[in-house]
Each structure stands twice: as structure tokens, then as C-alpha cells.
């Protein structure tokens, strides 16, 4: 909870004011009852109607003041509370987007989303709805006890006798319900994650008749969540009635002692009656506080979860004193890079250097580390040994943002955001003009795709790019990279779902638009990699061959094996088939 204090910055005055307002509100409520005592003793039992009238008038005035103060309290606390919530939500999101890929590949998406939504909402609920109750009751409790002691200290002490068990009960409740709530959060997060994963993979779930199995898994999680909710409710159901019961016991004690004191004439009937009401004011906040306490508990549990993200150190981030990169000339140096996702290295000492404006191709069997290299070039991971340098700057020493802005990457499985085709192309360069967007689209043939779709470039794209064919998604993401006008371009199997003639079109566009830029092409089609000045063959995380196509073909090595697929072998195969 201490974390939340940070967001109060600049609102301390309002916060202080709200404490005053809360105190005023509590005073108004308890004061009202002291007035009632006065009315009974000095007006009713003293047969003084005039006094009664005056006190009633004052009483109404106090109530009106209380009304006003409480309205202020609700509004003021909501303002503060929401300032905290939005600060928290933003910070959490900012922090998340700064975390490195390793974090995202280890957490389920649904789990992370639950933090940003239901957990922050839990905190928000407490702050916007719980806070007014909390503040006014935290004030009310001591105010009522004080008023009770002022009214008659003997009765006050008698009624305070039940406070120890009440407090003990509250302690128990806090402890048990906290644990229960944390567990509850875990279970609902598991349910969320299950739904998220099945919705994302629904095509396969259905195609393989997996519905029953998924339903069964879900049912188990849903049931576990239900059981835990029930348990939490049970704890609450025990607590409130018990407090209520203690309240009545206190009243019985007060009545008993009060009747004796009254008989001895050391107590007025008005005081006795008022004591009963004030007792209600003592126990009502206890109840309401515990009610809020439930919210507080789940908010506390939610904060624990949120903190687990906020405490996550981004693996990749600017080192203190990192320099912004000037415009790159595009010299890319991969120097003895060793890298492991887990224990076993995926890259074992990879070295190569692309001169400014050079175009290199990476080929090799799938799963041997090509995409991993691309990720290291994008600095999604840092090498365990060795370094990646651009223009002689180690990537770890430069400001990440200034580097990535000069980098264009087209991923193997491109992601499109909901919006339009145009807004997706513009993603990497939000200030691009419509003409620039159209030019980029036309260069790679997105315009022809768009022409088929309703709305052209303004065609609605849904989350993830649903509603487009895979090849179309790739085309759009290439246009996006082109528009970014990168100094270094990495194409990771960017055209794998695109037909060869379109790919040729794209290659021409790249040649024209990216002349002088450094580029790395990862591809399997031989015709695609042929463009490169130099081809690097990756095998088991090492570069086993490098050189121009012609030279590699003349060597007896992996490349020939890869190339062989297209050369020579075909005809015999076709002949056999035919």
C-alpha cells in the first residue's frame, strides 16, 4: 500500500482537507446524539418544550452540515482515489511494455492482462467506493468512543469491555481473509488464463474436437474458483453477525449497569439512552469497516500481484549514461555471440560483420538459431558472451529507443493491431502523410490487396490481423517496415506466405527504397537469398559457411545440401511422379 502514497504527490493538500472533512463528518454524527441526550435530559424530562425546540433545530442544522461534509468527502476522495488508480494503471502498463521478451514468453497473456484489469479494478473499487466509508468510519469509531466516555465515563468503560473480543475477532478475520483473498485472486487468474488461451487457439480446439477436454479443464478451474469464493464468503458471514452480536452484548451490559446507576441517581435517563445509540455508532463502523475490509483485502491481494510485475526488473534497459545514437551508417558487427534462453546455449560464438549498406542472408535449418540472432540484433535479448555492435557502439551502451527507431524488423509471424490497414502501416511512423502511406503500400503490392477489400487502405483490421490472409498480413508488415525508413532492416522469413511473383515485386521495392541501408534477410527460398551479397549458413547455433552463392555452391557443405533441393533433384522427382 505504501506504493500508492507516491501517487498522492501534488494532492497532499486535498488529502489533508479530506481528513478534516472526515473528522467534521464524524463529529456531526456523534454530536447529533449528544444533542439528543441534551434534548431528553434538559427538554423532555425537564418538561421544557422551548429548550426541546431549540435543540431539535440545532440537531437539524448539524445533520445538514454532516450532509454537506459527506458530499465533499465522497467527491474529494474519488478525485484522489482515481488519481492514484490512473497513476498505478499507467505505471504498470509503462513498466510492462518496458519488460523484455523473456518475461512475456514466460507468462501467460491472460495472467498479465488480469493484473492490468481486474487487479487494478480491485484497487480502484476500494479507493473510489471503500475510501469514503473507510475515512468516515475510521474517524467515527474514536469519535463515538470519545462521545460515549464524555456522556458517562462509567458506561463508556463498561461498553469498552467488549472491545477486546471485538478486536481479537477482527484480527482473526484480517488474517484468515487475507490469505483466502490472495488465493482467490490466483484462482480467478487461472480461470482467466484458461479462457484467454482457448479463445486464442479456438480454431485448433474445434478442429481437433478438443471441446470436451477444454471444458473439463475449465470446469475444474471454475469449480476451484467457486469453492474458494464460497470459503471467502463463509469467513465474512461468520464475522459480521459476530460483531453484531457483541454489539448487543455491550448494550445489555450498559443497560444493566446503567439501571443501577440510574437507581442511585448518578445517571440521567437521557445519558443512558444516548449511550445505547452511541454504542450503535461504535459497532456500526466496526461492521462497515469490515465490509470495506473485504474490499481492502482483495485490493491488498491485488496489489501483491501488481507489485510482482512492478518489481520485475526489465532485463533489457538503458544503462545509466547510455548515449542516444546518431543517424547510423549501418555497420553491424556480431562479435562472438553466445546466447542461451535457458541453460543450453542456442548460439555458440557467432561472428559476422555487415558493412554499411550491405545485404546479408541467413539460411539454415529451422530451429538452429536464425530468429534468435534477429532478436539479438533487435536487442530483445542481450548476448551472454560477446557483443552486438552498430557503428562500433555496443548495443548495451546506447539508448534503446534511439536504436530501435532506426531499425526495421519484419517478424516471422507478424502482428497487426486493430485499426485500419493504413493505421497499421503507419504504426512505425505515426506522422507519415497519407501519400507516404500510399507509396509504401503500392511499393509492396498492398494496394492491390486493398483494392479487393471494402474501404481500400481504410479497410478495418481486427485484432491480430484476423480477417486477412497470412500473406496479406506479411505484406502489410513489410510496408510498415518500409515506411519506417530504417537504417538497418531485418526480414525474418517475411515472405514465407507470399507467392513468388509478389515477392519479386517486394524485392524490387526494397532494392529501390532501401538502397544504402544495411539488411539481413532470413529466408528458405533459394531465389530469395540469392539477392544477398553474402550468405551465412547457420547450423546448430554456429555459422558454418559464408560467402557468395556461387562460392558456396562450389563447396561441399551444408549449403549445397540446402540448395540441392531445387537444383537437379527436381526433374528426377517430377519425372518419377510423371
Amino acid at each position: 500500500m505504501r506504493r500508492l502514497g507516491r501517487y498522492l504527490e501534488g494532492r497532499k493538500l486535498t488529502a489533508a482537507l479530506m481528513v478534516l472533512v472526515g473528522a467534521g463528518n464524524a463529529a456531526a454524527q456523534t454530536g447529533g446524539w449528544l444533542l439528543v441526550r441534551n434534548a431528553i435530559d434538559k427538554g423532555i424530562t425537564a418538561d421544557n418544550e422551548h429548550h426541546l425546540t431549540i435543540v431539535v433545530a440545532i440537531y437539524l442544522g448539524v445533520a445538514a452540515a454532516g450532509w454537506f461534509l459527506q458530499a465533499m468527502l465522497i467527491r474529494g476522495l474519488a478525485t484522489i482515489g482515481q488519481a492514484i488508480v490512473i497513476g498505478l494503471r499507467r505505471d504498470l502498463f509503462d513498466h510492462l511494455t518496458g519488460l523484455s521478451l523473456r518475461y512475456f514468453s514466460q507468462q501467460k497473456a491472460g495472467w498479465i492482462i488480469a493484473r492490468l484489469t481486474s487487479d487494478v479494478d480491485a484497487v480502484s473499487d476500494v479507493l473510489s467506493q471503500g475510501m469514503p466509508t473507510l475515512v468516515s468510519n475510521v474517524m467515527l469509531l474514536p469519535a463515538a468512543v470519545t462521545a460515549l466516555l464524555i456522556a458517562d465515563w462509567r458506561l463508556g468503560i463498561v461498553s469498552l469491555a467488549v472491545l477486546p473480543p471485538a478486536l481479537a475477532l477482527s484480527r482473526w478475520f484480517q488474517r484468515v481473509s487475507h490469505a483466502a483473498n490472495v488465493e482467490q485472486r490466483n484462482r480467478i487468474a487461472a480461470v482467466t488464463a484458461q479462457i484467454a488461451e482457448s479463445v486464442a487457439g479456438m480454431a485448433v480446439v474445434q478442429a481437433f474436437n478438443r471441446e470436451r477436454r477444454f471444458q473439463a479443464e475449465f470446469d475444474a478451474l471454475n469449480e476451484a474458483n467457486r469453492a474458494q469464493s464460497t470459503y471467502v464468503q463463509k469467513i465474512f458471514s461468520v464475522f459480521f453477525p459476530s460483531i453484531e452480536f457483541l454489539g448487543v452484548l455491550a448494550m445489555v451490559a450498559v443497560l444493566y449497569v446503567g439501571s443501577h446507576l440510574y437507581a442511585q441517581d448518578t445517571l440521567t435517563i437521557g445519558t443512558l439512552i444516548t449511550a445505547i445509540y452511541l454504542l450503535q455508532l461504535v459497532f456500526q463502523p466496526l461492521q462497515e469497516l469490515s465490509d470495506v475490509y473485504g474490499q481492502l483485502q482483495s485490493a491488498g491481494a491485488a496489489m501483491v500481484k501488481i507489485a510482482s510485475i512492478l518489481d520485475e526488473e526489465p532485463e533489457i534497459r538503458d544503462r545509466p549514461g547510455a548515449k542516444p545514437l546518431p543517424r547510423l551508417s549501418g555497420d553491424l558487427d556480431i562479435d562472438s555471440v553466445v546466447f542461451a534462453y535457458g541453460k543450453d546455449p542456442v548460439l555458440h560464438g557467432v561472428s559476422f560483420r555487415v558493412p554499411p549498406g550491405g545485404c546479408f542472408a541467413l539460411v539454415g535449418e529451422s530451429g538452429h538459431g536464425k530468429s534468435t540472432l534477429a532478436r539479438l540484433i533487435g536487442r530483445h535479448y542481450d548476448p551472454d558472451e560477446g557483443a552486438v555492435r552498430v557503428d562500433h557502439h555496443d548495443l548495451r551502451d546506447v539508448q534503446l529507443r534511439s536504436y530501435r527507431r532506426q531499425l526495421g524488423v519484419v517478424l516471422q509471424d507478424p502482428f497487426l493491431f486493430s485499426g485500419t490497414i493504413a493505421s497499421n502501416i503507419r504504426f512505425a511512423k505515426p506522422d507519415a502523410t497519407d501519400e507516404e502511406v500510399q507509396a509504401a503500400a503500392a511499393a509492396v503490392g498492398v494496394d492491390r490487396v486493398a483494392a479487393r477489400l471494402s474501404g481500400g487502405l481504410e479497410h478495418e483490421v481486427r485484432e491480430g490481423g484476423a480477417g486477412l490472409s497470412s500473406g496479406e498480413r506479411q505484406l502489410i508488415s513489410i510496408a510498415r517496415a518500409l515506411l519506417a525508413d530504417p537504417r538497418i532492416l531485418v526480414l525474418d522469413e517475411a515472405t514465407s506466405n507470399i507467392d513468388r511473383p509478389t515477392e519479386v515485386l517486394i524485392e524490387r521495392a526494397l532494392d529501390r527504397l532501401l538502397a544504402g541501408r544495411t539488411s539481413i534477410i532470413i529466408a528458405h527460398r533459394l531465389s530469395t537469398v540469392r539477392r544477398a551479397e553474402k550468405i551465412l549458413v547457420v547450423e546448430h547455433g554456429r555459422i558454418v559457411q559464408r560467402g557468395a552463392e556461387r562460392d558456396l555452391l562450389s563447396e561441399d557443405g551444408v549449403f549445397r545440401r540446402l540448395a540441392h533441393t531445387l537444383e537437379g533433384g527436381d526433374e528426377t522427382e517430377f519425372a518419377a511422379a510423371g
Binding site: 530501435r404 513468388r500 519479386v504 517430377f574
Partner: protein, 584 residues
């Protein structure tokens, strides 16, 4: 309105459906209401006893005090038990109905056609089965019975007060009309805003989901600030609506809290005079005040509950609209079994369009003989995936039909159809379970030897055993810890394991290197022997696997024949593979 996007249900129909869910729990419900009644009676009896105690034992010593106190303590103990039971019973109803609604939704999600998912972002689908259910749970698990109890408390208090002193009771009723007006006004004003709050929260979920799933893209282009800005806007949307809600609350709630002071003042003023005049005992005076005090919370609660009820009905209205308005893929009315043995596949004059858009496939005829392997080639966006997706009935053709073994796909029970058609989607989908379970997802009882054979045919054997824990390695969500080509091979092996008679491969080797591809093409032919196969591909090297290739252009088949012949023919096929053909 379309069949995948029905409009929300109205209040009344929603209410009826909620009531039906509630009726499933009627035992608990009736028990809860009975407890409420008992609670009300005890809570009214206690102040009456206090009144008697004050009048008879404290002010006048007509009777000893302790029996009263004993009875009050006893009743209080009883009330605690009753109250526990009421709370627990009603809370359980809420929790159960929440779980039940979620179960129903999830069940429905599993049956919804692809068209539904084309239209609704994951975040929305998710939030409807999570956040959206909370108002329903609170209303049913608390609001409904609490509301009934509030009404009972008010009635009981009114009866007792009227019996004691009808005229004074009337005076104290002075606060009732404004409270009622205020409570109703509050409910009316706050309901639309709280609905908006709910919607804005949905927007936040959507924004969060997209950013989390697309994080690599965001980071690669250094566009964190943009998505942060986008997310910030959504968060700001929540904030401003919550603040508006607080505004409405601040204008109404304190009133609900302090208006009863009017009644208390009325009792003080009029009751006090009557006490002075000797028409009312001091104990009765106390009774009036105590009962009024007891009404403060039930009255305040009424305002909350009306609000909650409206939110719950709105949420439930949305959920029920999905549950009832969206048709799952229809099962055949008179199901027919697929014939035994090899199956042929016929597309007969098939046209297809995605909901409301232009035709993607036009009047297409294609026959795949039993055991034949046909490659579907064509430029990006020609409709290959759309054609393939008709086989497992992800979509139904808008005209014409798809027949397997002579039976219209729509006449085959869906589970049987899908068990007979194994699919490899263009974007491989794996689940976060161990590799072994991913492989056997299509047929859990598969023999491990068969699985290994499939792994060999699909090339999983070249990396599976060397993963950190071999075939027991946990695959990350969406297969993040595998390379693209590895994911594809797992998906391919998974399809082979099913042993289905028809196999649909959508660009299954696009991320696999040519060398592995060549090996696989050689190994796949025997593995696929006897099965009818439709394979879409962009690579000439994959086309080899096929007996016959067809070229799809703008949703029409423009060429068909043996691959080798097509290469020589120099038609659309040859153009499509361009320099690859030249290389060959």
C-alpha cells in the same frame, strides 16, 4: 444485427432468465429469505424488549431487569446464527450462479463458429466471462435478498410504530417520501454511468490484451510511447466516468444517510412533547428512535440495490444475448455417417463469402479422389485458406456444397466430421502443455509408437528429444519457446497422429528450411498414403508431394494437372513460381 452479433436482451426477458437460474438454487434462496424474515422479526423484537425493560424495570421498578436482558442476549445469539445462515446462503447462490454463467459462456465459446471470433476481439470475449459477471454475482448473492430484507424491515418497523402510536408514526414518516424519491433518482442516474464504467473497463481490457500479445512488434519499432498513450486514453476514460459516478453519488448518498435525521428530529420534537404531556413513555420514545436508526442502512441499501440490479441486468442481458442469439454451428437434423474406407472430397459449385463481404470463392468445382494428394497454389489472398477451412466446417459455403465420401459435410455430425479431417492451420497453434500432450491433442489414446512415427514423418524427431526435457518439455503459450519451423512440424505431427482419413495442410512447411522440407516431403508421402490430402503452399518444393496441383486465382480454379506438366505448360502455374521454376 447478425447471427454473430446479436443485440442485448431487454430488461424483462433478462430478468426472467436470471430468475430461472435463481430457481435452480431455490432451496438456498427460500432458506435465505426465511432467514431474512427471522432476522427482521428478531431485530424488531429486540428494540421492543428494550422499550419494555426501560419502562418496566429501569424507570419504574415493576419487574426485574435481568429476564429482559437474558432474553435480549439470547435473541441476539439466535440472530447471529440466523444472520450467518442468511449471508452464507445468499452468497453461495451468487457464487454458484456466477460459476454457472461462466460455465455456460465457456461452453458456448467452444461451440461458436469462426465468424464469431472474426468479429469479437479476445479482450471482449474474455471480459464478458470475467469482469462482466461480478454485478450479476453481487446482485444475486447479496442485493436481491438484502433488498427483500430491507422491505421487510421497513414494513415491520412501520407496523410496530403504528401500533405504539399511530400519529407519531405518521410524523416520523416525514422522511420517507424524500428518501424514496432520492433513492429512485439515484438509481436512475447512476445506472447508465456505471454501465459506462463497465464498458470503459472493457476498452482497457482490449487495449491491454492487444499490447501484451503484440509486444514484440511494439518494442521492435520503439513504439512503446504510442501504445502507452493509447492505453492511457482508455484508462483516462475509466477515470472520468468513475469521477462522474462519484459526482452522482455525492449528490445522493449523503442525503440517503442524513435524511433519516428528519425522522429522528420529528420523534424528538413531537415525541418529546408527548412524553412531556405524559402520552408517551420514555421507553416508547426510545423504541421509536431505535427502530428509525435501524432503518437507515436498509433505506440506503435500497438505493444501492436498485443500481446494482440495473447493472446486473445489463450485464446479464449482454451475456444472454450471446448465449441465445449466437447460433453454434448447426448439427445436421438427419445426421448421416461417413462411409468406411478412403474418402473422396468434392467441392461442388462452391461459392463462399465472409459475412457480408464480396465472394472469395466463385462457383468452384474441385474433386480430390480417394487417396489423392492435391496441392492448391495461388497468389496471396486468392482464397486457399478459405477453401481449406470449408472442410472442417469452420465456415459453410454460401452456395454449393462440400461432399466427403459422397455425403454433404453439413449432414455429418460435426464431431465425426472433424475427427475425419485433420487440419494444420497456416499459423500453427500450440497450447501451454507438454510437447507430448500437444502431439496427442487430436487422439489422446494414441500409441506412443504411433506418435513417434508421426514425429519422424513430420520431422519433430530432429529436435524433440533434444529439448530441455525432451517430449515432456512444457511448451509456452502460443508455442513461444519453439522456432517457427518447429511449431509447424509439431502441428503437422499432431495432425498425422489423429489418423484422420482426410488431411488438410495449409502452407504447412512455409517456415521449414528447404533441406528439412525435402526430407519431409519424402517421408510424408508414405505417411499420408491412403489418405486424401489437400495442401496449400507457396513453395514449389512442397508441391512435389502432390499428385496433382490446381491453381487458384481470385477464387476460381484456372489450371489443374500434374506439377511437372504444369511447369512445362508455362501457364499460370509456371508464372506463379517464377524463377523457382527457372531454377528447377
Amino acid at each position: 444485427m447478425s447471427f454473430v452479433d446479436p443485440s442485448d436482451l431487454g430488461l424483462l426477458p433478462t430478468f426472467r432468465r436470471l430468475l430461472r437460474l435463481w430457481r435452480d438454487q431455490w432451496r438456498l434462496g427460500v432458506f435465505g429469505l426465511a432467514c431474512s424474515l427471522a432476522y427482521t422479526l428478531i431485530s424488531t423484537a429486540i428494540p421492543v424488549l428494550i422499550q419494555q425493560a426501560i419502562d418496566r424495570s429501569i424507570v419504574h421498578h415493576a419487574q426485574p431487569l435481568w429476564p429482559y436482558l437474558a432474553i435480549i442476549a439470547g435473541l441476539a445469539a439466535l440472530r447471529a446464527v440466523v444472520n450467518f445462515n442468511r449471508r452464507y446462503a445468499t452468497a453461495r447462490i451468487g457464487v454458484r450462479i456466477e460459476a454457472r454463467m461462466r460455465e455456460l459462456l465457456y461452453q458456448a465459446y467452444l461451440r461458436y463458429p469462426r465468424g464469431f471470433y472474426d468479429r469479437h476481439p479476445t479482450g471482449q470475449v474474455l471480459s464478458r466471462a470475467t469482469n462482466d459477471l461480478y454485478p450479476i454475482r453481487y446482485f444475486i448473492g447479496w442485493g436481491f435478498v438484502q433488498g427483500m430484507q430491507s422491505l421487510m424491515m421497513i414494513t415491520a418497523a412501520a407496523v410496530v410504530l403504528t401500533v405504539v402510536d399511530a400519529r407519531l408514526a405518521l410524523y416520523t414518516a416525514v422522511a420517507m417520501p424524500p428518501i424514496t424519491v432520492l433513492a429512485l433518482r439515484f438509481a436512475r442516474r447512476v445506472a447508465p454511468i456505471s454501465r459506462q464504467v463497465q464498458e470503459r473497463k472493457g476498452d482497457v481490457t482490449e487495449a491491454a490484451d492487444e499490447a501484451v500479445v503484440g509486444i514484440e512488434m511494439v518494442q521492435t519499432f520503439g513504439r512503446e510511447d504510442d501504445v502507452r498513450g493509447r492505453f492511457g486514453e482508455k484508462a483516462e476514460g475509466v477515470r472520468s466516468t468513475v469521477l462522474r459516478q462519484a459526482g452522482v453519488e455525492s449528490r445522493h448518498l449523503p442525503g440517503l444517510y442524513y435524511l433519516p435525521a428528519l425522522s429522528i428530529a420529528a420523534v424528538l420534537f413531537f415525541g418529546g412533547r408527548q412524553v412531556i404531556g405524559g402520552h408517551l413513555s420514555i421507553g416508547q420514545f426510545v423504541l421509536f428512535e431505535t427502530l428509525l436508526l435501524q432503518l437507515v442502512w436498509p433505506l440506503e441499501a435500497l438505493g444501492w440495490i436498485t443500481n446494482l440490479a440495473q447493472r446486473a441486468l445489463a450485464s446479464a442481458g449482454r451475456s444472454f444475448a450471446w448465449l441465445e442469439g449466437i447460433e453454434a454451428l448447426p448439427e445436421p437434423a438427419r445426421p448421416r455417417r461417413l462411409p468406411a474406407g478412403r474418402l473422396d472430397v468434392r467441392f461442388e459449385r462452391v461459392s463462399f463469402a465472409y459475412g457480408g463481404e464480396a465472394d472469395v470463392l466463385h462457383d468452384l468445382d474441385l474433386t480430390i479422389e480417394p487417396g489423392e494428394i492435391v496441392a492448391v497454389c495461388g497468389p496471396t489472398g486468392a482464397g486457399k485458406t478459405s477453401l481449406l477451412n470449408l472442410l472442417p466446417r469452420f465456415y459453410d459455403p454460401t452456395a454449393g456444397r462440400v461432399r466427403l465420401g459422397g455425403v454433404d459435410a453439413r449432414d455429418v455430425p460435426i464431431a465425426e466430421l472433424r475427427a475425419s479431417v485433420a487440419l494444420v492451420t497456416q499459423r500453427p497453434v500450440l497450447f501451454s502443455v507438454p510437447l507430448r500432450e500437444n502431439l496427442t491433442a487430436g487422439r489422446e489414446e494414441a500409441d506412443w509408437d504411433e506418435v513417434l512415427a508421426a514425429c519422424r514423418a513430420a520431422g519433430v524427431d530432429s529436435f524433440g528429444p533434444s529439448l530441455p526435457e525432451g517430449y515432456e518439455t512444457l511448451i509456452g503459450e502460443r508455442g513461444v519457446n519453439l522456432s517457427g519451423g518447429q511449431r509447424q512440424r509439431v502441428a503437422l505431427a499432431r495432425a498425422l497422429v489423429t489418423g484422420a482419413r482426410v488431411v488438410v495442410l495449409d502452407d504447412p512447411l512455409s517456415a521449414v528450411d528447404t533441406f528439412t522440407e525435402r526430407q519431409l516431403v519424402a517421408r510424408l508421402r508414405p505417411a499420408l498414403a491412403g489418405r486424401t490430402v489437400l495442401v496449400a503452399t507457396q513453395r514449389l518444393s512442397t508441391v512435389w508431394i502432390a499428385d496433382r496441383a490446381v491453381v487458384l486465382l481470385d477464387g476460381r480454379i484456372v489450371e489443374s494437372g500434374r506439377p511437372a506438366e504444369l511447369v512445362r505448360a508455362g501457364g499460370p502455374f509456371a508464372t506463379l513460381f517464377g524463377d523457382e521454376v527457372v531454377a528447377a
